[in-house]
Symmetry: C2
Subunit: 756 residues, 2 copies
Amino acid sequence: MASLQDIGVAAGINSLSALVFLLAYSILRLQPINDRIYFPKWYLKGIRANPVSSGTVRKVVNLDPRMYLRFWNWMPAALRMPEPELIDHAGLDSAVYIRIYLLGLKIFVPITALAFVVLVPVNWTNDTLAKLKDVTFNDIDKLSISNVPPRSSRFWVHIGMAYIFSFWTWYKLYKEYQIVATMRLQFLASESRRPDQYTVLVKNVPVDPDESVSEHVDHFFCVNHSDHYLTHQVVYNANRLATLVENKKSLHNWLTYYQNKYERNPSKKPAVKTGFWGLWGQRVDAIAYYTAEIDKLSEEEVAEREKVISDPKAVIPAAFVSFKSRWGAAVCAQTQQSRNPTTWLTEWAPEPRDVYWRNLAIPYVELSVRRLLMAVALFFLVFFFMLPIAIVQSFANIEGIEKVLPFLKPVIEANTIKSFIQGFLPGIALKIFLIILPTILMIMSKIEGYTSLSSLERMSASKYHKFILVNVFLGSIVTGTALQQLHQFLHQAPAEIPKTIGVSIPMKATFFISYVMVDGWSGIAAEILRLVPFVIFHLKNTFLVKTEKDREEAMDPGSLAFSITEPRLQLYFLLGLVYAPVSPILLPFIIVFFAFAYVVFRHQIINVYDQKYESGASFWPDVHRRILIGQVISQLLLLGLLSTKEAARTTPFLIALPLLTIWFHLFCKGRFESAFLKLPLQDAVIKDTLERATEPDLNLQVYLEDAYIHPVFKGGDYQRPVIDEESDPIIVATKRNSRMGSKNGSSQSSQKLFLR
Amino acid sequence: MASLQDIGVAAGINSLSALVFLLAYSILRLQPINDRIYFPKWYLKGIRANPVSSGTVRKVVNLDPRMYLRFWNWMPAALRMPEPELIDHAGLDSAVYIRIYLLGLKIFVPITALAFVVLVPVNWTNDTLAKLKDVTFNDIDKLSISNVPPRSSRFWVHIGMAYIFSFWTWYKLYKEYQIVATMRLQFLASESRRPDQYTVLVKNVPVDPDESVSEHVDHFFCVNHSDHYLTHQVVYNANRLATLVENKKSLHNWLTYYQNKYERNPSKKPAVKTGFWGLWGQRVDAIAYYTAEIDKLSEEEVAEREKVISDPKAVIPAAFVSFKSRWGAAVCAQTQQSRNPTTWLTEWAPEPRDVYWRNLAIPYVELSVRRLLMAVALFFLVFFFMLPIAIVQSFANIEGIEKVLPFLKPVIEANTIKSFIQGFLPGIALKIFLIILPTILMIMSKIEGYTSLSSLERMSASKYHKFILVNVFLGSIVTGTALQQLHQFLHQAPAEIPKTIGVSIPMKATFFISYVMVDGWSGIAAEILRLVPFVIFHLKNTFLVKTEKDREEAMDPGSLAFSITEPRLQLYFLLGLVYAPVSPILLPFIIVFFAFAYVVFRHQIINVYDQKYESGASFWPDVHRRILIGQVISQLLLLGLLSTKEAARTTPFLIALPLLTIWFHLFCKGRFESAFLKLPLQDAVIKDTLERATEPDLNLQVYLEDAYIHPVFKGGDYQRPVIDEESDPIIVATKRNSRMGSKNGSSQSSQKLFLR
């Protein structure tokens, strides 16, 4: 185990590496050529069109020495923007996301202060470890609960602290939930008019043999929401078309690449092989070849486009139904429409950018089978993921390779290569798996059939959180793979499990301290350097960019990647809560992480990230729940740890804590969660009334017309299929009927005709 | 352990006792004097006013010998009424309730047949038990899985059967859920107009310093449901008034008693003592005393009535809000009204008879604290209920009594009394506890704050189910109290628990067979005899009845007591599912129970019970869920049992079963449950349209006026406090505003004025 000094050295090294990253960043960001990598947000906002012009700034390299002297100034700059402006600039999702780091500070700074004032002296002034002859210990262990002798009445202090820490955490979590809920409602209330405010996504439209989907939807809502229904848009199955458009874009990139090449070196016409991946086949002129290919694809695309729009089978049984008022949409989204609760399912439409189009048409039975399969798959992924990796590793050793590819034998047997393979290959399978894991989880969420990008991210995050909990947290504490742990837990008494883990907790403090420094400190510093986008941008800039528009497209601002960063950051909450009453020495490292990450991510969302959608912080209930899961785990582990200390008199007082935590969760759920799921009618009425007063002549029909068309139709030559509704006898009859039914007078019906 | 012959004898004895009950019933029911005990339903329906008159029937005793010969004919008569008529006659709750017994038959008759054809030969043709020298066994054990040798490949048959039984159960459960859901929707659709169809219960109305609750509700719904809001009724806190009315009624009973006494024996004026319970105090004339007391109470009642109606503080922050259409009410019940999800809570109003008035005004925080406390209390009740009983028992022995009441010593020491106390007293504490247990659970549910009698019954049933599961089922299998079990389970590996219990399962078959016979067969036969109401009616009839109206009130038809009978009957499902693959010999006894109970309860709901409310079978999701809980338990126990048989090759195939059961539960929940929670808008529109077409001149306002007043005001001199709404400037302004806002023309506004 490491001593305090070792930890100091490790902290020094990690701080240094973080510092190097920061320095590199500070220098690179000042180069105008990198401006689009480190400040893409301003370009996308249209505020910046060129690198900042100052007297001495050149086009490529910045030589102004004064700017290098001020290279730290991005940090205060990142903190300067006030929150309302930040919400305006980067959206509520981002603004609330960085509040998670702030919440970490709010929770842990007072806890750390208290722990150092109270717990550290209580632990330090014992000599249990010094008395044990056969145990090596160090200063860090002397600061932890391990140093308190069994049956000591000092454990009352730890239990008291556990209660104080819990109450403080609940208080802060409650406050934060309240603030975020208010922010969300204010955000929704202050938003300008958006199509999704009037629109409901209707899924599982039942098949009607006599009517098209469009007619069926129209009739259903004319009857059941007669006073409020305005219009609807059917959804086309444009998956093949989207693939074609994608392919065409890639071909365009190649065409540009060869055109650039030719322009720069007109003496030699670029050529390309027509076979697989350009590796073999006939050699032809590249520019002519790609031009021809693009023409071919364009024709196909036009045909497919025609087919999708005209073929009634290309309409999937889902629709975006719009209403005359936000009230009407809110009502429809929150109520059950049909006797059969698996048809005519309504929910708030995600905003158009947020729709995940491929999942809109999954029937109920299929959906529940898919979710069952994915739940089983997740279980196996979490507990058995080591199995396939072990198999790959068993092949990826020297004997395995020599067996499969005997001709490589002389090369492999060379000493340097041999040691490289032996040292590196077994680990690489695991590394690759961990890198693609978020993608696997995202694919699983897509199979589960969620219909918006935001919910897909939330579900992936939830899966990733489980994986990290079992394989990183428990896996680091309890030796052995997750599979062995599972076996052990099944064959161990439930009351024994917290003991087994709890006992190991204090011993793992130094391990987690270095984890926090490596993964947390250096990881965040690497985040700001953006190495991957840096390389990709410069590659694209060199080979593909011709016009300013191309350069615009070469920019990759990235986004927050909630599904990856949030579960990782939950680990720090968990570590902080677990170690606060046990080994408070870990806490300062976590505080540094939260503070540093807060500044970096605030800078990134101001200058870099461009969110793909805006969900109005709908992820907060998940964040809140996961922190509470961490708290319950920490309380159970403390319970287990203390029960091994033979503190029989004191331990039972801890049993109430996890129960209270669960109750607090239910309390907050009832108190706040619906703000993230439903729009209160009161708010809808206020916005409707305001809008009617300020814009009495608004033509919503026109406004909503093309809001929810598949992105491949956007800006293209998409023609809405015209249905002459007023001549359709059924619709006219239904409308007349519903009009009479709702006892509305003639003036309203003319209103209706005008609106439609 | 009992042999097949012993079981036969026990079955004979129990059948005989059931037969005696039935015979007694058949004779008693023919006596005209008992007509109001055994056929109260017909009196309440107004179809019967006097005992059936036939030529030879006298007033008190029936002497017609022909009728005694036909004494069995109530059974076919009970089965003869077709289901639609039954629903009409007794309500959907009762009709669906007896379908639970029918479902038991549908599930278990084919399972029994299959088990006897396949499993019994497979078990019987082994000689494992015969080979074991030191074990006593009998024919019943030879029929069970215990007779199959370890590591036998015959276990494949048991596993296959477990799958077939499970699939069959799911199929029947799915069908039944579908049928009940359809019945419920048809019932709701075919119902005649009822106030609760238009009404929503609004709870947690926030306090407004400037307005009364009534005004606040009115303004809120005028604004937020401007086109649909009709009227509302505030709720008065009439708990004290209800107590006064109750007391007065009891005094009236005494007055009648003494008046009757005086009339029958005019020579002696009845006297009464004024002290506590009439035991001491001044001796006064009884009739004069009670008349004076009643007058005093009447005055108090009038004053309290006045106070409740005029005092604004007597209005609690809840209201029944009515809408112009079922559509409007359905929308309001299913949506969130306010930003703060703990205020303006809306739900479908229970029908007026179903409202539990005392719980309408509990704030959110208090409610969640109450639920936490009750959850903890239930845990202690289930696992620690033996503790207080043991304490009572330790006092209730001879030494304890002698210590507290030494003067009783000579009496107690007498031999017969001594043996009575020793044999009877320790058991009586437990008996009393078990009798009052449902009442305790109901009180706990009331503390939890549910607002309708139907939900109170459902919640009590859920608590009782847990109690039976732990203390009757597990308690009978695993020796020791529930507390010891809990301790054992906490200190045992999770994988060991099903093994421990599973192994004991086959050994307990004979115990459960006698349980089914005593509790099931004889219990049901006792139900039809109605001993307690029999005694009470005859007491009342002798002492209190003067007029026919009094006799009407002396009748106690009782009701189904869902909260008690349903959890008990769930035990039979559990036993059937657990023993089907293990000891099929239990199954015929359960089938007899279901068949017998079906006939008896069908007879009772036709002739006796009078339900206090009609919830439209809203309990079905609970019934469905509990049967599935039983199934999961049975599958886990089979898994545990087989894993002790060293059938390592076969056992893993059972792991999928509990997972599939849970998935089936989720699937059914999504598919059907909302039919029991929400009214689909489609159905609301159909009923609204129909009503408008058939009764265009309906004045709903008048119809709903007094629907939801507290029962103590019903039929009395209740005067609605008149609020001249049209002169209230705010309401008029709001209405005008909302009218303009919703762009309705002038003809509608006049309509509105007329309707209000």
